[in-house]
């Protein structure tokens, strides 16, 4: 059934934005994802670094290498002999982002800073990267337990229970993932990044911010790990006083998850269901998420079957599951016995034909009918 689908099990490379492909046969079920940014490296060093990044798979780290663009990353690799590299390094260190430096004068060891010789082979670079990314990934057959976020003042979610939330979060957990932990899921939360605060209010089904641009900016950066989360009590959980912007929380989380889908960890295996339709009317660009919601309302399903049934790429299924969980809507199905296999159900799109199918096509549901 799956082989008949067109998406072949992967997101389009252009959406993943990966300069190299991770080995196709690697087991990514428990991979920790890392975002490696590079600045001012020569072609030779860059090639060795890319090989080193692929070698991190041995430590269950799925690394993506990209040019540094000023945004946050898991680790920065820069040439200290180059002014641009030094500038990138300074910014990263101010953000407490781990840095691996080439051509730097050797200093006393500093936390979060590694030094590499320009002639280092790929395996040496891989070891240095692994050390910077966190030694808790070493020897672990499954993802490491949640670590403290880089900044000390950040909220640190407790290890979530498997039934309530993803069993483990990666070392550098995105804020979206942290919203799925028991400490924050379904609760009024104020989230702050670089002085801007958004107010997440699940009871209202709304998210508030001082301005629309703050909301849009938050949507595009919620996949990062550096938001400070603060669960607010009942007396503080009312709508914020300022006259700012607001929108559907579930549509916001869905768009945030899709925006950062290349960096989200795999959703924990299991069967999931929805009891209510998520409010995603203001995210009409995500038709796949609508199909997924409808399938989850019909009965429990796992990610693989959802993708096959709805004809949605795995990374989009993954993003939708994280978003629905963060919104507090996704429920875990406990008993396998309650699971109705998707094979038992009529394939999507075969139950409506004729006129209704033509209406569906007109409104952009052609692949579902």
């Amino acid at each position: 059934m799956q082989t008949a689908l067109g998406w072949a099990g992967h997101c389009p490379p252009v959406l993943r934005g990966e300069p190299f492909s991770f080995p196709a046969n690697a087991d990514s079920t428990h991979m920790i994802r890392a975002d490696i940014a590079i600045a001012a490296l020569d072609e030779d060093t860059m090639q060795r670094l890319r090989i080193a990044a692929s070698l991190l798979a041995a430590y269950r780290i799925q690394a993506r290498v990209r040019d540094w663009d000023g945004t946050r990353c898991s680790v920065l690799v820069a040439d200290h002999a180059d002014a641009y590299g030094r500038q990138a390094s300074d910014i990263a260190r101010r953000r407490q982002t781990p840095v691996l430096l080439f051509n730097a004068p050797q200093h006393a060891p500093a936390p979060g800073v590694g030094y590499a010789d320009p002639a280092s082979v790929a395996s040496t670079l891989a070891a240095a990267l692994r050390e910077l990314l966190g030694d808790k990934t070493a020897d672990a057959p499954a993802p490491a337990a949640p670590q403290a976020a880089p900044q000390a003042e950040k909220a640190q979610p407790p290890a979530p229970s498997p039934a309530a939330a993803p069993e483990r979060l990666p070392a550098v957990a995105s804020t979206l993932c942290r919203l799925t932990t028991p400490e924050f899921q379904g609760r009024a939360v104020d989230a702050t990044l670089r002085g801007r605060t958004i107010h997440i209010r699940p009871a209202e089904g709304r998210i508030y911010a001082p301005s629309l641009s703050d909301l849009l900016s938050a949507r595009d950066s919620l996949g990062q790990s550096d938001w400070t989360l603060h669960a607010v009590g009942d007396h503080d959980s009312a709508r914020p006083a300022h006259d700012g912007a607001s929108r559907s929380l579930e549509a916001f989380l869905l768009q945030a998850a899709y925006h950062s889908r290349a960096h989200l960890p795999d959703f924990p295996p299991g069967h999931y269901r929805l009891s209510d339709w998520p409010d995603i009317g203001s995210a009409p660009e995500h038709i796949g998420a609508l199909k997924i919601a409808r399938a989850l309302l019909r009965g429990p399903a796992d990610a693989e079957r959802l993708g096959a049934s709805c004809e949605v790429p795995p990374c989009e299924v993954n993003a939708a599951l994280w978003a629905y969980r963060a919104a507090g809507l996704l429920e875990t199905e406990g008993g396998v016995g309650a699971f109705t296999t998707m094979e038992d159900r009529p394939p999507e799109g075969r139950r409506l034909g004729g006129l209704l199918a033509r209406i569906a096509t007109h409104f952009g549901l052609s692949r579902a009918f």
Binding site: P202, A203, E204, G205, R206, R239, A245, S246, R247, S248, A251, S275, D276, W277, D279, I280, G281, S282, A283, P284, E285, I287, L290, K291, R294, L297, E348, G349, R351, L352, G354, L355, L356, R358, I359, A360, T361, H362, F363, G364, L365, A368, F369
Partner: protein, 175 residues
């Protein structure tokens, strides 16, 4: 339902945005029976639908999809079964700034189900961006009291994509 045409019905209280949603989807200007409001304007709204709105969309093969907007006033409630006859589904449009939105939602969902329990149904809620008191949880709770979960979306009736998304949800809920 005739195989040569189809029908969608927009229902909901006065001032919710039914006419706007129909206008957004239509190929041509809808035929409306808008009249000045007898009790004065409601905010920017100075007219209301006294009979029904009608428009159509031409599907890709030329088949017309008729769009009907029911008048929101209760004294026109006798028209609902007539207009809903043979419809693919009903889109209930509600104003998010109504202080009684949960009750209104429950009322309209029940009204549609009393006419046809199997009718496809979605709820679209407008103006939530300017409605400080809006709480989605209360609306969901009200709908649960009246039966199976149905799609409840906040949306902008002026957006063709968002209004179309309501129709997509309606169609998906039918299968």
């Amino acid at each position: 339902m005739s195989s040569h045409s189809a029908k969608l019905v927009f229902a909901g209280p006065v001032g919710a945005g039914k006419t706007t949603a129909i206008r957004t989807l239509s190929d041509s200007a809808p035929v409306s029976t808008e009249m000045p409001m007898s009790e004065g304007p409601m905010g920017d709204k100075t007219t209301t639908t006294v009979a029904l709105d009608f428009s159509s969309v031409q599907l890709d093969d030329g088949t017309p999809l008729h769009l009907y907007g029911l008048p929101g006033q209760e004294h026109f409630s006798h028209m609902r079964p007539l207009v809903m006859e043979g419809a693919v589904g009903v889109l209930v449009i509600l104003p998010g700034d109504s202080p009684r939105i949960a009750e209104e939602c429950e009322h309209w969902v029940r009204s549609v189900r009393e006419i046809n329990a199997d009718m496809g149904l979605v709820v679209g809620i407008t103006r939530t961006d300017i409605s400080p008191g809006f709480r989605m949880g209360e609306v969901r709770h009200a709908v649960r009291r009246s039966g199976q979960p149905i799609p409840i979306f906040t949306f902008d009736a002026r957006s063709r994509e968002q209004t179309s998304h309501l129709i997509r949800a309606l169609l998906l809920s039918l299968v």
